[in-house]
């Protein structure tokens, strides 16, 4: 997705290109040689696409449609058990949710959490990518190995490990902190104060996401023409200026992409909190995803849960549209 673009500098000659779409604007200037090189192929493409499309319709669209329907009903446990058709309530679920102060508190918290995580992830990733360029081969190999290992960790495993690291009684974090003179963290509970608890959650999230950002940005940085940078240095530009005027413009599309993706992922953080709080999340730790789950499975109002989920989807839709436009601009979707 991002990477073929990365590796497609104008210098590459633009040899392999996508066929021109019959609709929509042609790909931007990157060079679309060979007009009409795409084949219509008669029925073949439709036959090829059909199985995949049917599968996606069954597993994505039908549930989505059901979600939509349920959010206009009052679907409760009783209906799940008996199979009775629930009552239609119109927009009641949505008005209930939107007039609930707790919802707005959760929504605000979700946004703040997302912003903090995205900033740390993207900022940290960029920093790591920049220093990776300049470190010696051995160190870079070590860093790459560490990044890839962290990247590969399943979320369930990463969460278990961080739970153990911050365990109040025998977690190494408390043990090490207590070694500092005058500090006693024995028995300190990281989930007592909500902000500390979220700090631990953010640590898992960022730790798991930084490798992707760092590695992708590092790949992008290798695309920066060396000559340009050298020329800028010769012209007497400082490191910061070179970055701003030479390096950043080149990596900007990738930077925007990883930021957008991080926004979407961090908005949807669910499993890390769910597992950290032992599958039973208290209201102080609710983000939109958790809130929706709790409404559906703890309060047994599936309709309220789906209403919150739909509101989340709508909030994210803005980001998704932005993401799509970015891709189209660069000619990935034509």
């Amino acid at each position: 997705m991002s990477v073929p673009t990365l590796d497609r500098p104008p210098a590459a000659g633009g040899e392999p290109q996508e066929p021109d779409g019959p609709d929509g604007p042609a790909a931007p200037a990157a060079g679309t040689p060979g007009q009409g090189r795409g084949h219509r192929g008669g029925m073949l493409p439709y036959l090829l696409v059909l199985p995949g499309l049917l599968a996606i319709a069954a597993v994505y669209f039908y549930p989505l449609y059901r979600t939509l329907v349920m959010s206009f009903q009052d679907y409760r446990r009783r209906h799940l058990w008996t199979g009775d058709t629930p009552d239609w309530v119109g927009f009641e679920q949505f008005t209930n949710v939107l007039t609930d102060a707790h919802f707005w508190a959760v929504a605000t918290r979700t946004v703040v959490f997302m912003v903090v995580c995205v900033t740390l992830t993207v900022g940290g990733g960029l920093l790591i990518a920049l220093i990776m360029q300049r470190m010696s081969l051995v160190v870079r190999l070590m860093v790459t190995a560490a990044l890839v290992t962290a990247w590969a960790m399943p979320i369930v495993v990463a969460t278990s490990v961080f739970r153990w690291l911050t365990d109040s009684e025998y977690g190494i974090v408390n043990i090490l902190l207590s070694k500092l003179p005058g500090v006693d963290f024995r028995g300190h509970n990281w989930f007592m104060e909500t902000w500390q608890g979220f700090a631990v959650v953010a640590a898992v999230v960022v730790w798991g996401a930084v490798p992707f950002v760092a590695v992708t940005l590092y790949a992008a940085l290798t695309q920066v023409p060396k000559e340009l940078e050298e020329a800028a240095h010769l012209d007497g530009a400082g490191g910061r200026q070179v970055f701003r005027h030479v390096v950043f413009p080149v990596i900007k599309p990738v930077f925007v992409l990883v930021t957008t993706l991080s926004v979407i992922w961090d908005f949807n953080v669910f499993l890390q909190i769910f597992l950290m709080r032992g599958n039973n999340v208290e209201p102080q730790y609710e983000l939109l995803g958790i809130y929706s789950y709790n409404l559906a499975f703890q309060s047994q109002s599936f309709s309220q849960g789906t209403a919150v989920a739909l509101i989340t989807v709508l909030l994210l839709a803005g980001v998704a549209v932005y993401y799509l436009r970015q891709m189209m601009k660069r000619g990935e979707v034509e």
Binding site: G52, L64, T149, A152, F212
Partner: protein, 303 residues
Amino acid sequence: MSSPATTLRRLTGGSAPATTPDGTQTLRPDRKKPTRWYNLGGLLVFVVMAFPVYWMLVSAFRPGREIRSYDQTLWPSSFTLEGFQSAINSNFFWTSVRTSLIVTTVTVVAAMLLALLTAFAIGRFRFYGRKPLLIVLVLVQLLPPLAMLIPLYLQLNRMGGLNQYWALIVVYTVSALPFAVWMLRGFIINIPRELEESAMVDGCTRMGAFWRVVFPLIGPGIAATSVFSLVNTWNEYLLAYVVMQDNERWTLPVWLMSMTTQRGTNFGSLMAASVLIALPVVIFFMIVQRKMASGLTSGAVKG
């Protein structure tokens, strides 16, 4: 139902290491400035990123009594396999291994077949509805999986899919599809069309040319893509948790989390179990890195 987020994360970045993995990039000669500080920074990054994994390993091999003490040394002082033994001997471990293996294998194969067909259509033909299809492929990845949990559950239930391997396989295959299509399409469009055309001149059919010419060339692409679906399938928790109620049909992540909800978490065996689950994933990740790199250098995949 594998989280689109993780899939996307792995996928998008997935091919990135291709350019970078291990010093294929030449060091910039103009950086005579002390690399020492950068190396120091690099070491710091290394420590921060590697420490949780290191601590997981150390705890997994540490005797239970030492784990529960305030004097845990940072360095491994004594080794034991008791954590692994108690993890392996704990209930439902082997059945979970079996379930995870079956579900993952079938899912990956099915997803790759379906994705190849779709990616080939998208990458090689222009047809009506192609662009909307591409947009749909992106958009479905952005849906929070949670929003569809209940309806999916109801649908599977109606079809008799609870506690059945195929239920997970179907959902996982389809959720792997959008990314796989997207990624494979990237590989396919980068293979010179002329190769196929010449094969067709030699008498191959369209599909024949695809299988004989394109398919071998995108081997590395398929390898990479399949590892990402593999990793996601292997790691998925929430749907498996709801659909596989039968303890004997648990997948490994569900089994892992069941260890923490039981009375008194034994962190030693929890860490040992974590190692067991993470190990295959990490190995595959490492392997795919190499493949991607070799694919790149051999010129089969390029910009």
